[in-house]
Symmetry: C2
Subunit: 218 residues, 2 copies
DNA sequence: CAAAACACTGACCGTCCGGTCGGTCAGTTA
DNA sequence: TAACTGACCGACCGGACGGTCAGTGTTTTG
């Protein structure tokens, strides 16, 4: 009588459950955990409130189910970004632009994860980092470290710091673009590709060791 | 009988009102608008709930009062950062490290403003940007533009994009440091000064025109 | 020194919240 | 056909929410 299994994401789920998950994911990412009521989820999903409790034990459980699904989705998408065989700077460049593209293409998921990582409590952010972001970050760092050993990356820089700068720039652009578009001079917000291009140019130009620099114009 | 004036921040305010503002600022920055109840504010401030409504028309008005106070505080602090007369790169460097320092020193205010700017609705983020961040950002951009005209900044870069990168790196570090400290390799989170230093090094190294570069080690 | 103005409170209101309960109904299984 | 199961619903619960109000002291002021 009570919902027991749940979160068996791959197992068949009823149309109602799918509708609930979809509606809730959107609402949570848009308004946040506190701001979303189970009534609003039910209404948006076109089901009764009681039906949600048939599928999920609590509001918390529903949120967690969505979080786990999002995390799995995210890390699956990131899986494809490594194992590039090109030059160091080309790898970095490719990763970074794909990373931003991914953020933009999966707005709901990304927003949810960022909300959780930045404003959640200690335990949740730790779990999130260890389960999802951590792997990506470590791969990124090892790419940087390899580049450093090959003499392409400046030896005086912290590889983890470099990775943070690169991924952070994407993340900041993603979450700040709504606010930035109210600033007249910041016309670049409407062209993420152009931002990504110039950002990577600046970063690589600043990070690569002297002999490796292609050096932007001028 | 009804609260009317309010938000006359400089005029004398009762001990109760001050306690309310202080408690509410902390709670809002920590838990967010939805998560904070007027009862919790009253309890934290050591006053009755009704007393809050004596000083502020509504929860919304209380939030706005804190937001305005924070905004004023922020822009006052930023006011001192401009008008430097040194070299272009020294100005940028000084501004950026002071900016991060300011974020860290005013955690409550900063968190509140970021929350508002990033996850608030259209209208609020616009108001915030126009009233507070906009000015700082424009000053930053004009510094960059001047540097560009003087031939110190690469001419192929968008000045506003450069400003975004620099300020964004600080902001990202500020809000991500809680999550980053769960990543073993990211030991730099515990030394903001070191982060700031290397970040500015990379940025300037990537942004300055060739002849201007001092070039980090190696 | 009275009166107006202000700071403040406890009790209360209607509403919405997360969650529960008894029950219906369509679809399997035996 | 009878027993059972899972999807689903309307009505309801206690409690917390934002907000109100009549009233009590305290301070300022004409």
């Amino acid at each position: 009588m009570r919902a027991t299994q749940a979160e068996n994401s791959s197992l068949r789920q009823s149309a109602g459950e799918r509708a609930i998950l979809e509606a809730a994911a959107w609402l949570f990412s848009e308004i946040g955990f506190d701001g979303v009521s189970m009534r609003s989820v039910a209404e948006a999903a076109g089901v009764s409130k009681a039906n949600i409790y048939h599928h999920f034990e609590s509001k918390e459980a529903l949120y967690l189910a969505i979080l786990h699904a999002s995390a799995a989705e995210l890390s699956a998408l990131v899986e494809n970004l490594e194992e590039s065989s090109g030059r160091f700077d080309a790898n970095i460049s490719e990763f970074s632009s794909a990373h931003l593209q991914h953020l933009m293409d999966n707005e709901t998921t990304s927003r949810l994860m960022l909300r959780e990582a930045f404003s959640g409590d200690e335990e949740r952010s730790r779990m999130l980092v260890e389960r999802v972001v951590g792997g990506t970050f470590e791969r990124m760092v090892s790419i940087f470290r390899a580049g450093q050993e090959a003499g392409e990356l400046r030896s005086d820089l912290d590889p983890a710091l470099c990775a943070t700068l690169l991924m952070g720039a994407d993340v900041f652009f993603f979450q700040a673009r709504g606010a930035l578009k109210h600033i007249p001079q910041a016309g670049f917000v409407r062209r993420p590709g152009r931002f990504s291009e110039q950002m990577i140019d600046v970063m690589l130009n600043g990070m690569l060791s002297k002999k490796q620099r292609k050096g932007g114009a001028q």
